[in-house]
């Protein structure tokens, strides 16, 4: 997500970044302007590891009028205004989110292989590529397919009878097409199995040496139940246990019989767990509370043989037959252990939210979106760009009209373009720094920057005119009316300055370059530094010999401290009386970082 040069980031002051993380970098930092010692006594270092977390493009910052400061994503609190599915754009009521989870329960699924949204297609070979549209829904089985990687639910043997309610249908089909029994069916199945187990128990106990007592479990190990099934089995079992112990309490059995943990119950449990020669469990019913045992009760034993089987499967299927960690983590929670591509399930689409945002310190609402999903409007939106000036920088040479316009086009190719990615070291280069005022009051601006940037390569930076005024953001139409006369260029030849690097144009210290209605441009001179070269013999330490540059060490970023002074009418209502002089002075200050380019090293 690298931003193309040039760019401007604004520092949110919510984290105190001034703790000296890299002392060396600061030693040379000096202010070219002197009057803000009381404001901030430390230079903002864009290279500090923390800086990444406090720098934002202006568009991403909010402004709290109460606290009179910018607010970034870290110093606001969020409240969910509504939930919606990003794919079908239907709103999901929060009550449903609570009960059904934060996934779309309609027909929205993502590909388990590549995460692309999937489409429901009819299996009809004639209409293979058809996306069902309401008018012509073909019959026949349907399947989910990924338009990006061509994975489809057929790969795991799943077809649907209807094109609607995929979620409901999918919940009832296991991979391979086996139908998942409903809760009732499962209950019946459980009862049936239990009876069978009991019978087997009886048989086993009469011929003790024939098989292990775990025989009843091994029968089911071919198909490991997923966690949801296991859970429902377990809950059914425990509910059953509780009801049994409650029902029988004090009825037709001796109270001491139901005494959990008593010696009698333990002996009964022992017999229950199939000690050879014990009485059949049936006769002992109802038993007191015991633990789940056997697959019908949700107890699943991991045996060595099943592990071996897994390893063997991994061996035969190989890398391509197994899922990646990312794919596994994308799986719905109950299937998060899907090891093989055969086990994978389509992912129900995760819901998205719209959020309101509050200032973290004063709790005022900064952003409140319209609750309707389809609406992109906001009821409240306090943007930083309406409160603090926009600082932009660009090379004095004219840039291409469109970022990276085709080189094929002659008209643009003829125009010289400034190469921000290859700044020449030691060559003084001029940049135009423009401040645009969004406020309705004129600003007095003071800029400050360290004369050398921090980091491995130190660039010399000079703001030619660090103090200047910026006009108020008055009526656009005032400006539009005299647009014909054009902006007040300080030097009319600047129109030709594009042909070469500020050729012909005089860069003077202490003078602004250009000025308009609500903006002012000044020149910044940058002398890109060189890669530090180890002088032979001069520095004894071997650490100094090898100066390897890290990634992005060649990026030229200039921290700039912007201090604003402006006068606001104290009370707009009082103005009627004619006392125009009633004005209060206001001050504001912030750090921003100008990304100028990359230096050739």
């Amino acid at each position: 997500m690298a931003q193309p040069f040039p760019y401007t980031y604004y520092a949110c002051s919510c984290t105190d970044d001034t703790t000296t993380s890299s002392k060396g970098a600061f030693t040379r930092a000096r202010f070219s302007a002197n009057e803000n010692d009381d404001e901030e006594d430390q230079t903002f270092d864009p290279r500090s590891p923390r800086a990444n977390y406090s720098l934002f493009p202006l568009e991403n910052l909010l402004y709290c009028a109460e606290c009179q400061t910018v607010r970034c994503s870290r110093c606001v609190t969020e409240e969910i205004a509504c939930w919606f599915c990003p794919s079908c754009l239907f709103e999901v009521p929060s009550s449903m989110v609570r009960s059904e989870g934060n996934r779309c329960t309609r027909n929205c699924y993502n590909c388990p292989i590549c995460t692309s949204p999937m489409t429901v297609n009819p299996l009809d070979t004639q209409d293979r590529l058809v996306v069902p549209d309401a008018a012509s829904v073909p019959g026949g089985p349907f399947y989910l397919s990924c338009p990006y990687c061509a994975w489809s639910s057929l790969d795991i043997g799943i077809k649907f009878e209807r094109a609607s309610n995929i979620t409901g249908q999918l919940a009832r089909i296991k991979n391979g097409g086996k139908v998942v029994p409903t809760l009732k069916e499962r209950e019946r199945e459980r009862d049936r199995k239990r009876e069978k187990d009991d019978k087997r128990h009886f048989e086993e106990s009469t011929q003790p040496s024939s098989s292990s007592p775990l025989g009843s479990i091994d029968e089911d190990t071919q198909e490991a139940p997923n966690s949801e099934e296991t859970f429902s089995d377990l809950t059914a079992f425990y509910k059953n246990q509780i009801s049994i112990s409650n029902n029988t309490n004090g009825s037709m059995f001796n109270p001491h019989d139901i005494n959990f943990g008593s010696p009698s119950s333990i002996t009964r449990l022992m017999s229950l767990y199939g000690r050879p020669g014990a009485k059949p469990a049936k006769k002992d019913k109802p038993q007191s509370m015991r633990e789940a045992y056997g697959s019908t009760e949700g107890f699943f034993e991991v045996s060595n043989s099943s592990e071996d089987e897994l390893i063997e499967r991994i061996r035969t299927l190989g890398w391509s037959g197994t899922t990646s960690i990312e794919q596994r983590s994308n799986q719905p929670p109950h299937n998060s252990s899907a090891r093989f591509l055969d086990d994978i399930r389509p992912i129900p689409t995760l819901l998205r939210t719209k959020q309101s945002k509050r200032c973290r310190s004063c709790r005022n609402i900064l952003v409140r979106p319209d609750n309707k999903v389809s609406s992109t409007r906001y009821k409240i939106k306090l943007l930083a760009l309406n409160y603090i000036p926009r600082v932009t920088i660009r090379a004095l040479a004219p840039p291409p009209p469109v970022p990276s316009t085709s080189t094929l086009s002659n008209a643009t190719a003829l125009r010289p373009t400034f190469d921000y990615d290859h700044l020449q070291p030691s060559k003084p280069t001029h940049f135009l720094l423009t401040l645009r005022n969004p406020l309705f009051d004129p600003l007095k601006v003071t800029l400050a920057t360290p004369s050398y940037t921090s980091g491995r390569i130190n660039h010399k930076v000079t703001i030619m005119c660090p103090q200047f005024d910026v006009g108020a953001n008055t009526d656009v139409w005032d400006e539009a009316l005299n647009a014909g006369t054009g902006s007040k260029l300080r030097n009319p030849t600047s129109s030709m300055s594009g042909s070469s690097d500020n050729g012909g144009m005089q860069v003077e210290a202490g003078k602004i370059w250009e000025k308009g209605r609500n903006w002012t441009s000044v020149i910044v001179e940058v002398i890109p530094g060189r890669k530090p070269i180890s002088l032979p013999g001069s520095f004894g330490s071997p650490a100094y010999q090898e100066e390897e540059l890290d990634e992005d060490d060649d990026v030229l970023e200039i921290p700039v401290f912007v201090r604003l002074e402006y006068e606001v009418e104290a009370d707009k209502e009082e103005k009627v009386g004619g006392s125009m002089g009633q004005k209060t002075k206001k001050e504001d200050a912030f750090w921003c970082v100008l990304g100028v380019g990359r230096v050739v090293v």
Binding site: Y7, P57, L89, V131, Y148, T376, L383, S409, L489
Partner: protein, 216 residues
């Protein structure tokens, strides 16, 4: 209202762009097929080597009762102040429906920027959308308002990208949200004299009027 490139008035004979009455700028080096089926909203730029396939439109009405699609259906409609950068291909999406293969119109909103060499077969792209270079928008995908798509993204067919999304990847995934300031243009956007209207100076996702003006 919407003028068609065919009805161009050749004011600047020597320039790269042919400017229409409503201020559309169409490069002479763009290859446009089926101009009758393309509408441009005004102040929209079609740069060089762009391929617009207006010829791929829905066939004229075949219904016996005469109702249905008029005989020159719109294949591509582009809104106001939209920039289609050089080397882009805009091709209306198509699919088999009821046994016949047919094309569906492509709709692009206002203030949409499409970076160079992107291939677009979307069903619709709403306003204030920024698509970086070398992207592929596969057939029938829908991009809602205020979306930023980073370069080299492949948006799979039929994908819906909701508003305020930041999108990247192959296949495309929503990787974040654009800031609340996206598309907001306080004051006079881009106003600021010569050369101030350059990439990076306008509000992200904001109006492209100034950019359009600067393209000559």
């Amino acid at each position: 209202m919407a003028s068609r490139p065919s009805a161009t008035s050749r004011r600047q004979v020597k320039g790269e762009y042919i400017e229409t009455d409503s201020g559309n700028k169409v490069s002479r080096k763009a290859s446009i097929a089926g101009t009758a089926n393309i509408t441009l909203g005004g102040k929209t730029v079609i740069q060089s080597d762009v391929i617009l396939r207006g010829d791929l439109h829905r066939l004229p009405s075949t219904k016996p009762d005469g109702t249905g699609i008029p005989h020159a259906p719109t294949a591509i409609s582009i809104g106001r102040c939209t920039v289609i950068s050089s080397g882009c291909v805009l091709r209306p999406p198509s699919r088999l429906s009821r046994g016949t293969y047919s094309f569906y119109p492509m709709k692009i909103g206002d203030n949409v920027f499409i970076g160079h060499h992107s291939i677009v077969q979307a069903a619709s792209i709403s306003s204030h959308v920024y698509i970086a270079e070398h992207c592929v928008l596969q057939p029938f995908c829908i991009v809602k308002e205020n979306v930023k798509i980073l370069s080299h993204t492949v948006v799979p067919a039929n994908m819906v990208i909701p508003s305020n999304s930041l999108v990247a990847g192959r296949p495309a995934r929503v990787i974040g949200e654009v800031g609340e300031g996206w598309g907001c243009t306080p004051g006079a956007p881009g106003e600021g004299g010569r050369g101030a209207t350059v990439a990076g100076e306008w509000v992200e996702g904001g109006e492209l009027r100034e950019l359009v003006r600067s393209i000559k």
